[in-house]
Symmetry: C2
Subunit: 201 residues, 2 copies
DNA sequence: TGCAAACTTTCAACGGATGAAAAACTAAAA
DNA sequence: TTTTAGTTTTTCATCCGTTGAAAGTTTGCA
């Protein structure tokens, strides 16, 4: 596990992330240049790109591990767990675990979230990542509930569930509400989705 | 309404769109350079940006008019129309009208859709536009069903409905199904969303 | 110690995007 | 028709993110 090479790489990676976040916090995302980030982390600009595919990706460095969590949840579910329960569990876990991944400091999470929600380029990227995760999850569910859940049903379920939670959270945040209120909104939204829209209006 | 100036502007706008789409079809989106598009439309590269804010925007030139359609649908609804009916109507109209906006040729629509679904940069942009439209729609619904629909409920409804349709369509397309099958999938998805996810799995 | 593999730096280039000033054009007034 | 004022286009210069290639440096191992 050790090896100077490995450790050094992890350190540079961390340095890049921290430099980036520090600068983003100070001057804003668009105002921060890659050259500045690289300088702050003491590497050449070129090297940045052997750690991250793009400037945006510094913010989304833990997406793979989060996706693994949810596929694991699907894989390890009780054989008789109903779909709505599983989805609810996954949603709760994702929201709760939003507050800090294993490898990365909890303190940077609020900043990252704020950036994702306010910087248009990051918003678009986040939505795209969320979208591909949803497709993956839908496929996994179709597999896991084989015979009981068609591809379209799986996609509809995931899309409705995640779509409702997402928009409820963002609408809440946009109205200037607190993070707790936003999470409440997400829970209400999932309830509504389980119950069906016929119960509304 | 006339005026040489006005007409000329419309013509260059059209020329830019057509040049861009022609080149995208021939060589692909990323492979086409802005300089080539401008040359094909006989304007300078700089002028492109007084017509479109970015390369991506050539593809999304009719988004405002489409959004207006849906806000009009909300504004002009029958006072007693139930929310689910209105949402269904809006979804149908949006999907049907996907086939050609007033100002623009119908033949280019399939190409535009294909590009939006396959080019990552355009995917992200499309998702972002869809997202902001949804927020707008949710606000409009909260207004229109004032007293009967909280902001969170409106957001949940829109998010669930659109999310289900979106993911069902994309899952279908990704499985290599035809456009008709994809639209069927969308309809099934909206049905499921109206009925609620408890009925699944 | 010395060699091969992995990693970093430097350098050059491309494409998208933006600001500013010069040039070309249009729509009116004189 | 000529002048003039306003609008649009071009030209030019520049910035930033991103990528390829070649040269230089560090690490791991024989």
């Amino acid at each position: 596990m050790a090896g100077i090479r490995e450790r050094k790489k992890q350190r540079t990676r961390r340095a890049l992330i921290e430099a980036a976040l520090r600068l983003f916090a100070e001057k804003g995302y668009e105002e921060t240049t890659l050259a500045e980030i690289a300088a702050e982390a003491d590497v050449s600009t070129r090297t940045f790109f052997s750690y991250f595919a793009s400037k945006e990706d510094v913010i989304f460095h833990d997406m793979e591990s989060r996706m693994e969590r949810t596929t694991a949840a699907v894989r390890d579910r009780a054989p008789d767990e109903p779909l709505p329960d599983l989805l609810t569990r996954i949603a709760r876990d994702a929201l709760a675990h939003a507050a800090g991944d294993e490898n990365y400091a909890v303190e940077e999470t609020p900043l990252r979230i704020r950036l994702m929600m306010t910087v248009p380029a990051l918003q678009a990227r986040a939505l795209h990542l969320l979208y591909t995760s949803q497709l993956q999850l839908a496929r996994a569910l179709h597999e896991s509930y084989r015979g009981r859940l068609s591809p379209v049903e799986a996609a509809a379920a995931v899309g409705a569930f995640a779509g409702a939670a997402k928009l409820a959270v963002m609408a809440s945040v946009e109205r200037g509400e607190s993070m707790d209120q936003a999470l409440d909104a997400a829970m209400v939204a999932t309830e509504i989705t389980l119950r069906g829209l016929r119960s509304l209006g």
